[in-house]
């Protein structure tokens, strides 16, 4: 965990008092809605269909139990008793009142949480691997660099009014859990031949109506040059990114229009002039940030404790353990993923009571730490394996032990037309129906790893382009229709999915998905061939034939 110091605390308190003044001026009419809009967006406040929506940042997906309790408090005190975890390590509250927002922000500031730049045309929350610092084989903890980037991008005086939003993601593992290739800047931490830390920098990824997978702009940027290189990219973008058309304003369009080589030249030219300046990161500066991170004092524990051996006789426990428990870098410990995708529930929602109960469990079993992943699930990152059976029972009691992690019912979905003013179609009820269709966990295990992503409009908050199965809501003659793609993925082999056939009406979506899954079961080379690999091997055609032949 990163611990705020006096300076970090001062800054977020200053931000809260500034926003309190801005809200006051809006309520008195001194600020027009046009003037206020960007200011509230920069504090995470959207105007949605029914109310203001409030998006709070969980930088690089790390939360303390104290912070989680405060999120529960905000859900209870200012909202309707629940929150919604998003695909970018944020939490959203859907029913907040404008006049109470400054108080909610002040309550969050007490525990070092803010909502700065969770929307608006600026750099958004810096996201990372939710297993950072605990994943086996990780090169080093990417959160140190994430925090350096968080500070660098917060209230940046030059880049707070960019052509469009700007998102960073960072990973330090071979397997990318942070979806870095669909970000404006994706950073893959690795070491050069001299053993020095640096980054492969990728640029211009993003979904929305013109999806692109990010391209590598530089295979290795030394850690000490990270900020100057990033500043060079952002400066080029701030000056030359398009501002005439909101749909062409992301950096991906600039990169595409210039071509990656020319764009890289522009960046290189700019970087040459600033790389030895004030942004250079000495080792001592990096160490200063690193020193503010605390790590658990792990015990020496057995890999296979008696408690675990005994519990293995319980098929329910075993089913959950095989699905939701993952290897940890320390012997005797495990990472436990908590599915926020119960059968029939809206993906990513957690109640205030669940958050409080989970905070207690984190204190008891995970050194007071909780993680949030882009799949809209939570994790306890440091659980002693001997505690797994007891933890499982406690999680089951609060509805956080659904053993469907990475399976067909572990669906990523945006809020859709139930909440969002941009949406063309509903997302949540589609997800709910699919979790009911695939509620049998044995069947789901037979199907194996399969990611379904649902977006209620072309803005793609549900990342449908990179779902193994992607579902996109569109509007056709006043009715909700859904385009379905297959073969997308968001990991280190990121790829956009391909359309499997014509759009289908709301009532038929679940049937079509079932047919696609059945087609896969019939077509796969063997039970170990994942859905996405079958699509890669066979292409879309055999799926189209089977699913659409009778439609």
């Amino acid at each position: 965990m990163y611990a705020y110091d006096e300076l970090d605390r001062t800054l977020i308190n200053e931000r809260v008092s500034e926003f309190r003044d801005q809200v006051k001026r809006r309520l008195s009419g001194e600020l027009t809605e046009d003037e206020f809009k960007m200011l509230r967006l920069q504090n995470g406040v959207y105007l949605q269909l029914h109310a203001y929506m409030f998006r709070v940042a969980i930088p690089y997906g790390t939360l303390s139990s104290r912070q989680l309790r405060q999120l529960a408090h905000v859900a209870r005190r200012y909202d309707r008793g629940y929150g919604h975890f998003t695909t970018r390590q944020n939490i959203q509250f859907n029913w907040i009142k404008l006049a109470e927002l400054p108080d909610a922000l002040a309550d969050l500031a007490e525990v070092g949480i803010h909502a700065m730049q969770t929307s608006g045309n600026n750099t958004r929350n810096v996201t990372s691997d939710q297993w950072a610092g605990v994943a086996p084989g990780e090169i080093e903890d990417p959160r140190i660099w994430s925090e350096i980037l968080r500070q660098y991008t917060t209230l940046h005086p030059e880049f707070s009014f960019l052509p469009r939003k700007f998102k960073f993601a960072i990973t330090a593992s071979a397997h990318d859990r942070a979806a870095i290739k669909i970000h404006d800047i994706g950073l893959r931490l690795h070491k050069n031949a001299q053993g020095e830390t640096g980054f492969e920098v990728m640029v211009g990824g993003g979904l929305g109506r013109t999806p692109f997978i990010a391209k590598t702009i530089r295979p290795f940027v030394h850690g000490s040059d990270l900020l100057s290189y990033v500043e060079a990219i952002m400066r080029v973008y701030n000056q030359y990114g398009r501002r005439d058309n909101i749909y062409k304003a992301r950096i991906k369009i600039l990169v595409h229009e210039l071509g990656i080589e020319r764009f890289a030249q522009e960046v290189e030219e700019e970087w040459r002039q600033i790389r030895d300046g004030a942004l250079k990161l000495d080792d001592s500066v990096v160490e200063e940030i690193r020193s503010r991170f605390t790590y658990p004092a792990y015990e020496k524990l057995a890999h296979m404790p008696d408690e675990l051996r005994k519990a293995a006789h319980d098929p329910h426990f075993e089913g959950w353990r095989r699905n939701s428990v993952f290897p940890h870098k320390m012997t005797g410990y495990a990472i436990v993923t908590l599915s926020l995708k119960p059968v029939g529930g809206p993906p990513g929602d957690a109640t205030a009571d669940q958050m409080d109960a989970l905070a207690d469990l984190a204190d008891k079993y995970s050194f007071g730490e909780i993680r949030v992943g882009h799949e809209q699930n939570l994790a306890l990152p440091h659980v002693a394996r001997r505690d797994l059976p007891t933890l499982w029972k406690a999680l089951d009691k609060i509805g956080l032990a659904t053993p469907n992690v990475n399976l067909v019912s572990d669906i990523i979905a945006c809020p859709g037309l139930d909440y969002c003013s941009l949406a063309n179609a509903r997302s949540i009820p589609i997800a709910q129906e699919l979790t009911r269709r695939f509620s049998n966990h044995d069947t789901a295990n037979l199907i194996g790893r399969l990611h379904i992503n649902i977006s209620g409009c072309i803005n793609a908050c549900g990342h449908h382009h990179v779902g193994h199965i992607g579902i996109l809501g569109v509007e056709k003659n006043g009715e909700e229709f859904y385009q379905i793609t297959i073969g997308g993925r968001a990991d280190e082999n990121a790829q956009l999915g391909s359309l499997v056939g014509p759009a289908v009406p709301y009532a038929e979506v679940a049937d079509v998905i079932e047919d696609i899954v059945e087609a896969y079961l019939a077509l796969r080379a063997n039970p170990d061939e994942l859905f996405v690999d079958s699509v890669k091997r066979l292409g879309v055609e055999p799926f189209r034939e089977r699913v659409y032949a009778t439609r």
């Binding site: 300076l7 001062t10 960007m38 500070q151 005086p157 009014f161 400066r235 500066v285």
Partner: protein
């Protein structure tokens, strides 16, 4: 529109001269980039200071050869949401070491004062009288800054390092 300079509302020494209006023989003028670049030599020979309003979609590189003869450069925020002039300002101050007046024009509002100060602006054509009146206290809204710019404010990182050094020196 009130002008804020040196932190307070001030008289504007410069006269905005439209492209089709004749240039006054003396006195400080603020003219468009296009007009200035038509004949920079002739304009520089005038009695009185010259200021140029530089558009936000043209590289400041084109202005650099003339910086030493300009008393003011005015950069433009067509709306406060268009942030190109922040980059131009930092380049003028930090790369091209321009020391004259750097003026923010257009939709200049209270809530951007701190960003503008940090980018190097020192004069502000403020849209609203009420915003101009609270300039001084608004400029002090923040005391912590994460990024180094050319404005000399000490960054949080540097303050931490200083603190650490003084601690280790036993002070």
């Amino acid at each position: 529109m009130p002008l804020v300079k040196n932190g307070k509302i001030s008289d504007d020494a410069f006269v905005h001269v439209a492209d089709d209006a004749p240039l006054p023989p003396d006195g400080a003028i603020l003219i468009s980039a296009a007009r200035f670049l038509e004949d920079p030599e002739a304009i520089s020979r005038r009695l009185g200071k010259t200021g140029v309003v530089w558009p936000n979609n043209r590289d400041v590189d084109d202005l650099v050869p003339y910086l030493d003869r300009l008393a003011a450069v005015a950069l433009v925020f067509p709306t406060f949401r268009d942030g190109r002039a922040y980059s131009q300002a930092r380049l003028l101050r930090e790369r091209f070491l321009y020391h004259g007046e750097l003026r923010a024009t257009g939709q200049v509002l209270r809530d951007q004062f701190v960003f503008m100060l940090r980018a190097g602006f020192d004069a502000f054509e403020v849209r609203k009288q009420a915003d101009a009146e609270v300039f001084a206290q608004t400029a002090k809204r923040y005391s912590v800054f994460y990024q180094p710019t050319g404005d000399g404010r000490v960054t949080a990182l540097n303050r931490r390092m200083q603190l650490r050094h003084s601690e280790s020196a036993g002070l």
